[in-house]
Symmetry: C2
Subunit: 202 residues, 2 copies
Amino acid sequence: MAQNKVAGPEIERLIQLLAKLPGLGPRSARRAALHLIKKKDQLLAPLSEAMGVAVEKIGICSSCGTVDTTDPCAICSDPKRDSSVLVVVEDVADLWALERASATNAIYHVLGGTLSPLDGVGPEDLNIAKLIERCEGGEIQEVILAINATVEGQTTAHFVMDQLAPLNVNVTKLAHGVPVGGELDYLDEGTLTQALKGRTRF
Amino acid sequence: MAQNKVAGPEIERLIQLLAKLPGLGPRSARRAALHLIKKKDQLLAPLSEAMGVAVEKIGICSSCGTVDTTDPCAICSDPKRDSSVLVVVEDVADLWALERASATNAIYHVLGGTLSPLDGVGPEDLNIAKLIERCEGGEIQEVILAINATVEGQTTAHFVMDQLAPLNVNVTKLAHGVPVGGELDYLDEGTLTQALKGRTRF
Ligand SMILES: [Zn+2]
Ligand SMILES: [Zn+2]
């Protein structure tokens, strides 16, 4: 549609905005736009409305940094959560993944990225000061660093650990090992080595 | 997010609706929702608005069947178009593709699908009656069947041709052959045979 505007600027604009979604290129954005237009009442109108509601209601939790319609978020304000254990994640997507797995009943802290000096991302660009502040409160006993096993993730984990060292909290990290259902043959050597090192009684 | 609603029903609903877009599964819908929420002012709000405008303004052209904000559409009402030649396509996406290619200055007719007895799609479910009506008007000299070279597409093309036979219009179809930039080695035998049959002087 770039060269030849056949369908009015309104459709063109819809396609251009859809193309900015992760996972949609120009071609799939056109397909998505057409699908939406064809399903105007069943999909386009409800989605437009859901987005409007999201614009109005969704914000960042001032305590943990996740996104929600309330502040503090549903997790931070849930009295059934174990607020003595704090799980530190890079991104809201990681928090969602842990929640989908019902992996923990702890509370969270979202860093909002990883340290990356080359990209100009320093400690002040991440949600680290607030993490220290929460840990100084006295209620948190353990901080679990659930940070991706990438170079940037591990650099960030080490930095956070150094910052937490003077405080009275236990800092732990996720176990390495064979993914459940994983085949040894497909795993990298680092994972295999860690899985052997961390072996447990059968 | 299915099992564990952590982020309020508003985000959940946004994810569920996004997952209905072609090209987005549940996982990429979550990523898309998060991306939208993070870019609330730059992307979520404008997209919500663009969709609202689309809901309000976009409809089907009562002449050719394409989608546009005016009826008749921009193409049907363009006096610079050659309205003696009518290009018949299955879907609006095909019309858009031909327009992007600036392949023709003719006008269009969108069938809205192909005949498919097994799926219960008969002639009355397609935009065929209106096509006959347009061709009976006297202005149209040539009907180009730009219908996909699939079994259903070709069945549909034959049906349309039979319907148009009594009328005073020339019915043509797209040339088969080697795609521009295409390598012979990757083409199917049918295409190669058609490309040889339809050879032209160098
Ligand atoms: Zn929170
Ligand atoms: Zn039209």
